[in-house]
Subunit: 200 residues, 2 copies
């Protein structure tokens, strides 16, 4: 049977490593590369991958992805050190920063506890978080992991670890999103919205 | 405002060049790269891009992507030279080859006529097709461009160019696909299915 040349097969396999990318999509990406890329585009893509490999690492303090030893947020002396907001991924930091309302610092777990995927508490940034809480002065830990089984488990795990400390542990509010239509909302969101109801 | 480090921004932009990939998806791909790739994975991806850049080109005869001067199909003396099947993309050749029923040769246009995108007949492999029809012995040209405005325009354009020759020009059948539900079919498909009806 006719197959793609080896290099194209390899490129398809590279793209198939990405979340949500099946063979058809990977094929489309690979053929798009060949039809749209000129020599300089290949060079730029290779150079970008080389830079990512060499430059990007988690911030030694908070785990946020950075090209320095410490990320810009950790280096910013203006940030409110009393609050530490715990998120799953670097992406979450970027999104929260866009709101321009949070002035505290962050801690990026780079993962969630997920026993079915073999990911335990020691595989994500929980120990570094505990070390920070021991060594730095923080008054509040805001848990902003996602409203998924894994996110909830991780939040609960951290909350229990901090039970006997003086640190205030909070969880961000979950409920109906802006523009959300109640008739299309899922059960978990609706439950959270009802549980979290306030006097009007 | 907090942004990603430059190298991550660049990787996000690389992924945004792909069809159907917006900023959110590109961000997901970039962060997946960082979390899932080890050093050897970066090297492999870079090496694959280098190989694509250096090895892959259209077959000098039929336009199908290959890592040789001529593709395996053109080099195969067992193929039926009387039929030449015209497709938009290399991907189409691979798909048709999987059916294992077509034994003729191919011609890959590497594009379609699309005035709105500034792509005219000279920008795709129509001239190489005419040259082949002049220089080689083919009895039938099977037009297998897609059932889209551009695919139809391209098929019509080639058909007209060949009006005064002895070559039989055919178009593959369009109609209801296997497993297709008539109540969900689009108008164009249904029209084609009705037009192409046969005595039962």
């Amino acid at each position: 049977m006719m197959e793609y040349p080896e290099a194209i097969q390899l490129l398809i396999e590279q793209f198939m490593r990405y979340p949500g990318v099946g063979r058809k999509t990977a094929e489309r990406y690979a053929l798009h590369t060949i039809s749209a890329f000129e020599e300089k585009d290949y060079d730029a893509f290779q150079e970008t991958l080389r830079r990512i490999k060499e430059e990007i690492k988690p911030c030694e303090l908070c785990g946020h992805l950075t090209d320095q030893d410490r990320c810009d947020i950790c280096k910013d002396s203006q940030r409110d050190q009393s609050k530490i907001l715990v998120v799953e991924e670097s992406k979450d930091v970027i999104v929260i920063e866009k709101t321009k309302t949070y002035t505290g610092v962050y801690h990026v777990l780079n993962g969630v506890i997920s026993p079915s995927n073999g990911i335990g508490p020691d595989d994500i940034g929980i120990k570094p978080l505990l070390n920070r809480l021991k060594n730095e002065q923080h008054e509040e830990v805001i848990l902003a992991t996602n409203l998924s089984d894994e996110g909830e488990t991780t939040a609960l795990y951290i909350q229990r670890l901090l039970l006997k400390t003086d640190i205030l542990v909070t969880r961000i509010a979950y409920g109906m999103p802006a523009g959300g239509n109640i008739s299309y909302a899922d059960e978990i969101t609706l439950n959270k919205a009802l549980e979290g109801r306030k006097k009007f």
